[in-house]
Symmetry: C2
């Protein structure tokens, strides 16, 4: 059987990021100040982010140039490879053509360094010495530690406590790159101490870890904060994935009917599909379908409330208009598959609200089953998060088989699972079960939302 692997010459790597904001049919609802509840100005974000990133967050330029130094660093692992999944197609006996763009060959093994090195770069240029951040499964913390090593920045990572102990390899990766990783809640911040006083066994959450990282960043002049997903500038940096994929599909002479990506905060999926979405918005490819895949245990897009909410547990971040399960969301412990953020990128929220993208929630047993099918046919063991996209890619290919239509599917393969084998072990040994986050809990979170859930 012919293998098809497509490599882009690095001379043709995108030299600018694609910013979807000017192409949206309606503007994004603005972020609000957590105190005044009024639209934010750039100066409100200055304690957290370098001015260049704040500008990118709010920019209306369609293309933003990637600094040459950054382009050079990207070449350590980019452009990434696009594959045609011939073996998987054959195993599924489907007429569909399945392509996947694989981000797992970066040094930290995921798409996260695409924005981590960009954020480290702009912070370094502005004289910042330290960056704090949070991490859930650990992919983001390791990517930022990697970026910190390249730029000589000190990185401090608050890792959700339950993951800190479940995934010890991630902490060691961060340390290997010179980063510091501590479990959250910690005794190092006011919010951490408060939570531990209330519940010494608190397992932590992404929202809480963000609060701790933000609290530390605003308290020190030499320190900024960095977020690995959700925000506009993060999705912007990830568009390098989709721009590469687009050039490569053009070279092949093919174009996707459906693009599938997994979403926690949403950056890898949006990074892949936004450059294609442009063709849907301008009428070139009006029928393009885009599917965001999330876990049934954290069903932000499919069941969340559409409202302004905080990005963190303690309510220190700006209010973002997004689909949310409430900023006090704690993921169920039975869930092993990542993607556990209570909110969703405002851009994806907005696109979903406008009916431009779809969303589907999947159960974890099905995602690991899909991961095994993928590994045994295509070879790559994906991260459990990535398996969500693989699940729906397989489902779409099976639909294709039913209808007989030879659809072209493009799947975002955000990272490898070599550091997540404990989750596969839990699956293989039958310790996992499916869990659907109860709608009542989501409704109940309404009363804790700022602006009364508007």
């Amino acid at each position: 059987m012919k293998q098809s692997k497509y490599i882009l010459d690095e001379k043709r790597m995108p030299t600018s990021w694609y910013n979807v904001l000017p192409d949206l049919p309606e503007p994004l609802p603005p972020p609000l100040h957590p105190g005044t509840k009024q639209p934010l100005g750039p100066e409100d974000l200055a304690p957290l982010f370098p001015m260049e990133l704040i500008k990118q967050e709010m920019s209306t330029e369609r293309y933003i140039e990637i600094p040459e130094e950054l382009q050079d660093i990207f070449k350590l692992w980019r452009p990434t490879t696009l594959y045609r999944a011939h073996r998987l197609e054959k195993a599924l006996d489907t007429p569909a053509k399945i392509y996947y763009k694989y981000e797992g060959t970066s040094p930290p093994g995921s798409h996260k360094p695409n924005t981590a090195v960009a954020q480290a770069y702009y912070n370094k240029k502005e004289g910042i010495k330290r960056i704090t951040t949070e991490t859930g499964a650990g992919q983001w913390g390791s990517a930022l530690s990697f970026a910190g090593a390249l730029f000589g920045l000190e990185i401090k990572v608050y890792m959700v406590k339950v993951s800190f102990y479940q995934k010890p390899y991630r902490k060691i990766m961060m340390q290997t790159w010179g980063g510091t990783c501590i479990p959250s809640p910690s005794m190092e911040t006011n919010i951490g101490r408060k939570m531990l006083a209330e519940d010494p066994d608190c397992p932590g959450s992404l929202g809480l870890a963000i609060s701790e990282a933000v609290e530390e960043a605003v308290s020190r002049d030499d320190t900024h904060y960095s977020l690995g997903s959700v925000l506009n500038h993060v999705l912007l940096h990830q568009t390098i994935i989709g721009q590469e994929a687009k050039v490569m599909m053009e070279d092949i002479g093919d174009y996707p009917d459906v693009i599938v990506g997994c979403v926690g905060g949403g950056s890898n999926a949006a990074g892949l599909y936004l450059p294609f979405l442009k063709d849907k918005l301008d009428g070139t490819h009006p029928d393009l379908r885009i599917v965001n895949v999330e876990p049934a245990s954290c069903p932000t897009l499919t069941k969340g409330l559409y409202a302004y909410d905080y990005g963190d547990e303690a309510g220190m971040t700006p209010l973002l208009k997004m689909f949310t399960l409430g900023h006090e969301f704690m993921p169920p412990p039975v869930h092993a598959g990542g993607l556990r953020y209570h909110g969703m990128a405002p851009i994806i929220t907005h696109l979903h609200k406008l009916g431009l993208v779809e969303a589907v929630a999947v159960h974890q047993l099905g995602t690991f089953e899909a991961g095994l099918t993928f590994a045994r046919n295509e070879g790559i063991i994906c991260a459990p998060e990535t398996d969500h996209a693989v699940r729906v890619t397989i489902d779409e290919a099976l639909k294709s088989k039913e209808t007989g239509e030879a659809k072209t599917i493009l799947c975002g393969l955000s990272g490898h699972g070599h550091v997540d084998m404990a989750a596969y072990d839990a699956y293989l040994s039958g310790q996992l079960e499916d869990y659907e986050y109860p709608v009542e809990k989501i409704k109940a979170s309404l009363e804790h939302l700022p602006l009364n859930g508007k």
Copy 2:
């Protein structure tokens, strides 16, 4: 700083393996039958290996064609990337040019699938249903499980017991690809039961795990055995690495003064350097230096006996003329860095004996220190085994700085360390110490060698 990454178009991937045997200035001493102690015939190996691999083991053809189906499968991850280590050079302030060929982007994360898929392919063609093997750190067992998944073969892996419990992620990777992995010594073989009766806490060794895998393979008609290093055909399959590197260096217009690789059984290092060694043998590059790097705790090439020895603990395999620490060698438990085989590939042994390649033993603290320097500059976290090659690459670059000579160094980066973070943790938390395998123990092993150590 300019990054330099070199990618070979897959159309230019080597279509044959390079066999060094016909180019050797003296022939290899022949393998001997473990019973008769007479030179082996092909039929003696038939219970273990398919005939095509036996032919390759003994072939005197300089180039052996890679079947088209295999070439296609290689394209799932090959050709692999060649990097110029600009950042590392700058950090070391060396005039040396450092290149590295990185095998860590294969699905199992190392060079091992280069031979695993080839061996699975030939076994499948001969109607074999099952393959047994052994694994130490787990890279080989996972690579063969990956290959088994691609060809629908059942894979059974005997994993050295101490590693089985220290590195649980590797077992889960094998299971994810459908393989079975059990700790060795096990109750499933005579030799395993015997060892456990003598010492229920026996930590196992590669030699012992080989005995178990061989015992099971010879006892079943549908089952063959597979070895991940040492043998001629394994080194042959790995020459795809060096052939790619050679074409790429030619494209760049550079040629190495020194090639550095880490050696356990020796396959990744030899795979990289044999195609270059050809130029040394034919006088094109007579001054090329080749350095094999091994751990001081398993100093086969630098302190081993040059003698016929068994490949396994129980004395079931053919006798190979090699540098050996004795087939009863048990690696010290303090050692975390892999490369723990008692013997050495006969080809490398022979080249070393002829003065065509060098060998150096390094201590583990220095290898992890080098690994950290590499990770913090080049981004990639290498496998602990690979860090041995990185250590000596850095040492050679520092020598270059002292002498002011701008040497060109080519380093074999055999795999990533994402599944080996426990070893990094042991290093970072100060649990490791250096250990030099005592010369007296090596001398004492002489009396257990077959043929009285001839």
